[in-house]
């Protein structure tokens, strides 16, 4: 059976648009709200990334940090995250879900046990921010055995030789970091330049799906729509924080935002 992640890319291509990937932090603002948000955005998002909150994140900007600390404060545990995914899959079993987080969380849970739980709850892919290639070779192999995509990150600082090696070892989906930044930074490179880098990477192996992330908002997403997929994270986390501040319902606000994002790439 084809991994639902690949199915989602196929579907987006048929509709002549990039796949829309959303990122929310598991347990933000609470376990229940987090599930409600996933359910409400699933009709407009093609792939759902769910952040595993960690309290010493070395690559996240202030928006995702705020969401993560909020989720941890509200008591989210790794097992709750699997539960959220499982419950979501009961609602929409074909929607791909990717967990994104830091390696210590997996390491403490135990790699094998973590992957088994991924299978049981319906996780389709993993992004581990601080487990770069070649350190991730073994773990990526384990993921493959479990039919889970291990998604490699590629950065503007990744050298050409390294790009080739990483892509050769990679699974069908990779993630290109648009610029030198933590998540949620202001887009300091023009969309044109980002796409130029993207095209170079895409040429190495055109069969691999490459999504672009970091710094993508409602304003910039339209200009990047020639990519295979686009990830919006911090803008969504910011919307949750804003909603809570104004005592509004984050579920409806996030849902509206994702709909708007989708409209920009049609």
């Amino acid at each position: 059976m084809l991994n639902p992640i690949s199915v989602a890319f196929k579907k987006a291509k048929q509709e002549n648009r990039p796949a829309l990937l959303t990122y929310t932090v598991a347990g933000d603002s609470s376990k229940k709200q987090s599930l409600r948000i996933l359910k409400s955005i699933s009709k407009n998002a093609d792939i759902l990334e769910l952040g595993v909150p960690h309290n010493t994140p070395v690559a996240d900007g202030s928006q995702i940090q705020t969401s993560s600390y909020r989720a941890i404060k509200n008591g989210i545990k790794v097992n709750d995250i699997f539960k959220i995914v499982k419950d979501f899959k009961k609602f929409d079993k074909n929607k791909p879900v990717i967990l994104m987080g830091y390696y210590n969380m997996i390491f403490q849970y135990g790699e094998n046990k973590f992957l088994n739980k991924c299978n049981l709850s319906g996780v389709n892919g993993l992004i581990v921010v601080d487990l770069p290639w070649p350190e991730n070779k073994n773990f990526a192999k384990k993921c493959k055995k479990k039919s889970i995509y291990f998604i490699q990150l590629l950065s503007p600082t990744t050298t050409k030789i390294r790009l080739k090696k990483i892509i050769k070892d990679s699974h069908p989906m990779n993630y290109f970091i648009s610029m030198l930044s933590t998540t949620g930074g202001k887009l300091k490179v023009s969309p044109k330049d980002i796409l130029k880098n993207y095209t170079k990477i895409k040429k190495i192996d055109p069969k691999k799906e490459i999504v672009i992330g970091f710094g993508i908002t409602e304003k910039t997403i339209g200009k990047l729509k020639s990519a295979d997929g686009l990830v919006v994270g911090s803008a969504i986390c910011k919307e949750i924080s804003k909603s809570l501040k104004h005592r509004q319902n984050p579920v409806t606000n996030v849902s509206k935002l994702v709909k708007k994002l989708k409209n920009k790439i049609l």
Binding site: H54, N55, T56, P57, V58, A59, D60, G61, Q65, Y69, I72, K77, V78, Y102, Y103, N104, M105, I106, F107, Q108, Y109, V129, D130, L131, P132, W133, P134, E135, Q152, L153, L154, S155, P156, T157, T158, T159, R162, I177, L180, S181, T182, G185
Partner: protein, 414 residues
């Protein structure tokens, strides 16, 4: 797991940067892979380059003012009535602490790369103060990340950093201490690694930073070895080296040159921060058996919960208030080359009182932890045992805390 003889410990990691196959490594975002690799290539080349070593030594001598004193604490020895208690007064170094060695080397490296800005983290404020001094000397712009809680409790060092022209960035996330400062500094580097060099303030972080820091602070033991031979004619038969351990930079540097001696002759004792006596929180992962985890790019023993969230620490000493510990010390612990124990806040304060009562020496709260254990163990040791405590920082920065905890006389009299 085995410690090899004849090879510097900093070079005993494997290809991926793991000591003993499991401590250290490079758990970093992809963006940092290239800058870290570049720094590795540069450092590996320069540490063998005679011209670079001469340049380092010139600055160490003329600017830092090495060697620092090695003195006998006669009155304290007499009062304790056991082993001979000596001190390596590393706080003599320019700026008042050992952090100057690492800061200087990082600035020299940054100059070679042509980067115009250097960023760094700080807990007690010494790493930040020294980096700001070195950056100023070598014409680099400097940005220091410091937890908001530490900014409040280590004001003298904050003032010094600002005076040197550094930008001090307060970090409000998490526990607002060193752990958050290091995270924020790494995040800043992720976003600015094309124009900015990073200095990690201790023997922590991705493997190359552990190595650079250990290489830099080893100046301490190079001097001590010469001073011991000058004083005793040879390395004493019973030598015990006490040092506080937070991230582990001063202790590693204090021990490095003695690594190949048998531990029966030359024992290393690392003293972690046990925190307040009544609190369950501490900053002593080695003493209290914390599990291996990943923090700031390296695998190490680290205080964490069962899920892998890093736990908050508590210590009177900002410089030791860190949930993790250098991979080098994890390696020295598991190979049983060094022994680790902890002193509480209260024990450190008592030791500070005792040392300042008997000697013209004013150790900061960090080395006061080492003095606490050294004094208590010295009582039971023979007179021919040479106990050396690294007094790696000066208490000037702790004025506020000392006044609050011990009263004005302990601040004024010094």
């Amino acid at each position: 797991m085995k410690l090899k003889r004849g090879i510097p410990v900093i070079d005993q990691g494997n290809k991926l940067g793991f000591w003993g196959g499991k401590f250290g490594g490079n758990f970093v975002p992809e963006t940092l892979k290239k800058p870290i690799e570049d720094l590795e290539v540069l450092f590996n080349k320069l540490k063998k380059d005679k011209k670079f070593i001469r340049e380092r030594d010139k600055h160490f001598k003329n600017w830092i003012g090495v060697p620092t004193r090695f003195i006998k604490l006669e009155n304290l020895t007499e009062h304790v009535g056991g082993a001979q208690i000596w001190s390596k007064v590393v706080s003599d170094a320019n700026g008042g602490a050992h952090k100057i060695y690492n800061a200087t080397v990082h600035c020299l490296l940054a100059k070679r790369t042509g980067k115009k800005t250097i960023c760094g983290d700080t807990g007690a404020g010494y790493a930040g103060k020294m980096l700001s001094m070195a950056a100023k000397k070598f014409g680099l712009k400097c940005k220091i990340f410091m937890g908001a809680k530490d900014i409040a409790r280590q004001q003298p060092n904050v003032k010094a950093m600002k005076k040197n022209g550094a930008e001090v960035v307060p970090v409000y996330s998490g526990s607002q201490t060193l752990v958050d400062a290091v995270s924020e500094c790494m995040r800043f580097w992720v976003a600015n690694c094309d124009t900015t060099a990073m200095c990690v303030g201790s023997t922590v972080g991705p493997a190359v930073f552990v190595r650079i820091c250990g290489w830099s602070t080893s100046q301490i033991s190079r001097e001590l070895k010469v001073q011991l031979i000058d004083e005793f004619g040879s390395i004493p038969k019973k030598l015990k080296l006490y040092n506080c351990v937070g991230g582990g930079s001063s202790s590693f540097g204090f021990w490095n040159e003695f690594m190949d001696y048998d531990k029966k002759q030359c024992e290393f004792i690392g003293v972690e921060a046990g925190g307040p006596a009544k609190s369950k929180k501490h900053a002593a992962p080695l003493t209290y058996g914390s599990k291996i985890g990943i923090l700031h790019g390296a695998a190490q023993y680290v205080n964490q919960n069962s899920d892998g969230q890093i736990e908050e620490t508590e210590s009177i000493s900002a410089g030791l208030d860190y949930p993790g510990i250098s991979p080098l010390h994890c390696f020295l612990k598991d190979t049983k080359r060094a022994r680790y124990t902890a002193a509480s806040d209260e024990q450190a304060l008592e030791a500070y009182k005792l040392v300042t009562r008997f000697e013209k020496l004013r150790p900061s709260l960090e080395p006061s932890h080492a003095f606490a254990v050294a004094i208590s163990e010295s009582k039971k040791l023979s007179k021919d045992t040479i106990v050396v405590v690294n007094s790696c920082g000066d208490a000037y920065k702790d004025r506020g805390i000392l006044e609050k905890r011990l009263g004005k006389k302990y601040v004024k009299s010094n």
